[in-house]
Subunit: 323 residues, 2 copies
DNA sequence: ATGAAAGCGCTAACAT
DNA sequence: ATGTTAGCGCTTTCAT
């Protein structure tokens, strides 16, 4: 078995409680004793057992991070940042993938709850009602979805969409298609609302579509039929698929049609033409969400929504409108 | 506080140990009692505290998964698969990102070790010596790196490289450049060794290079200077960067030069031309690594190396050689 | 400043 | 088949 607090106590000739204090309440122990105990602990390679500690303190120093799909390029930067931030605060993170299944999501929360001090829900597929119920068991922070009464981290896609449409109109496009996402998506709704308020431009809504390349690919015919010369797609994957679909039908991007995506995922930077996109601050979202979570762990939860800025990144998939 | 085993015991009028048995040793308890206890537990919303259980059993039912960089597109499919497999076995997984820093990696292992039954090391940056030392503390399975004495999951890039070179020679290429990766990389070494044994073809080695787009971009001049018409790149990112670098210098892919990558990451499928590549079975690796780890948790570790097959995926970045 | 004792939630001998 | 007891590694009163 590994070295325990008792081993350290015996080796230093003090009681276990003194060793305990040497670590977690330094001011309560004689400085000399403390340094001696710490030295011996170091020597023996002692590391406190965090799980055992949690049993009495009620703090596991773990958090759960639940996402719909780890392999979706949108999430890894968020996971990475959340993990790094947690580590900074001396927290470990359980990462779990729900495979887009609400039932799995609920199960995961249930089994995780005893082992964590809080859970980060990223783009949850659960109903608000279920979340409402589960929050009794463990503190939540929700990312990328509006959940009233809960601390929330949102990214301002509404403003992003407006930026995108303005960019398009500035390039001379007068008819713009919004290729929407899944019907339940908060992001998609935000984009639609923002686009609907724009003047000086015709916006047609095409959707709902699956949030994937295939969704974009399939939307190409509708886009062409719509007569739009500028397109704002639900996300980068859809945009990339759309560009391919347009190419298959003889339409060049940005020559014939300009396309803008949302997210700024890696493949968008790497595909040709390089994708003009609305950058979502996923890393910042991960970092801030962790801080909010740890905050709401030891004080009352502030149920505020934090809105993060998005930015338009102009690359190669948008250009001047031609007559 | 949440509902504990004691609450269930009181509510069902039995002793806690009976409740415990109802869950973890069903055959030792009267079927009737068992169903009653289980019903009441369900009713109360009781979930055993796994951390507390671990204290006596020595099994945490957690594993650690340590990777160099979560955001590197190579890893997410592996993480996803590992996580899914772990869940299947009723295990939770801590995911940690070392940011390519060996020191962070060691720290992480140290602090994680008490909370997990084993650790999956993916493309570790630690020296073999350090790994050798740490294995005393916790069972390891190593992925994507040879570590003798430890259970290991490898992907057969050597064979992949041979397949790639054969594909190129079949297309008429007689002079092939191998754009290598970082000097310490096992994968890069394997590829070089495999390529060196090929006959009927000139292979020139260009490197070492950083394993990124930038690395590929920078390698373009050397590739052109080498006179090679076919290129095997260290990985897809390098291949994509290289294709861009070649384009900047007026060389078309696959018209003038054929390029093959390694990994089969998402951006490779999405970039233009679509990348011909050696597919690495990362999902399978994650799944198998988890099984090996859980296996070596409760029996003696089988220090064998498992070698997984790779496959050539021909897409658009390779074509006939021209004179 | 330190020791003694109780207890966190659970399992595992040992009794009965 | 079930209850009793001890104990996992640690923290936290309560004494001294």
């Amino acid at each position: 078995m590994a070295v325990t607090i008792r081993d350290v106590a015996e080796a230093s000739g003090v009681h276990v409680s003194t060793v305990s204090r040497a670590f977690s309440a330094p001011h309560l122990v004689n400085p000399e004793t403390r340094t001696r105990v710490l030295a011996i602990a170091e020597d023996l390679g002692y590391r406190p057992n965090r799980a055992a500690r949690a049993l009495t303190t009620g703090r596991t120093h773990n958090i759960g991070l639940i996402v719909a799909d780890i392999a979706n390029p949108f999430f890894p930067p968020l996971i990475k940042a959340a993990q790094a931030q947690a580590r900074l605060r001396d927290y470990h993170v359980f990462v779990a993938d729900t495979d887009e299944d609400p039932q799995v999501e609920e199960d995961l929360i249930q089994t995780l709850t005893k082992q964590v001090d809080g859970v980060l829900l990223c783009s949850p597929r659960l109903t608000n009602r279920t979340i409402e119920r589960l929050r009794e068991e463990v503190p939540f922070v929700v990312v990328n979805r509006r959940a009233k009464g809960l601390p929330t981290v949102l990214m301002d896609v509404g403003r992003g969409a407006r930026l995108a449409v303005e960019h398009l109109t500035a390039l001379g496009h007068r008819r713009i298609a919004l290729v929407t996402g899944p019907s339940g998506s908060w992001t998609s709704k935000e984009m639609q609302e923002a686009a609907a308020t724009m003047s000086d431009v015709d916006v047609v809504f095409l959707g709902p579509n699956p949030p994937t390349e295939l969704g974009g690919l399939a939307a190409a015919t509708d886009v062409i039929a719509s007569g739009a010369t500028g397109v704002l797609a639900y996300n980068d994957l859809v945009a990339i698929g759309l560009i391919e679909g347009l190419a298959e039908r003889g339409k060049n991007v940005p020559g014939d049609v300009s396309v803008i995506g949302v997210d700024d995922i890696v493949p968008g930077r790497l595909s040709r033409p390089k994708l003009t996109t609305i950058a979502m601050p996923t890393a910042a979202a991960g970092r801030i969400a962790v801080d909010l979570l740890l905050q709401s762990v030891d004080s009352a939860a502030t149920a505020a929504a934090t809105m993060l800025e998005t930015a338009l990144i102009v690359r190669e998939s948008t250009g001047k409108a031609h007559r």
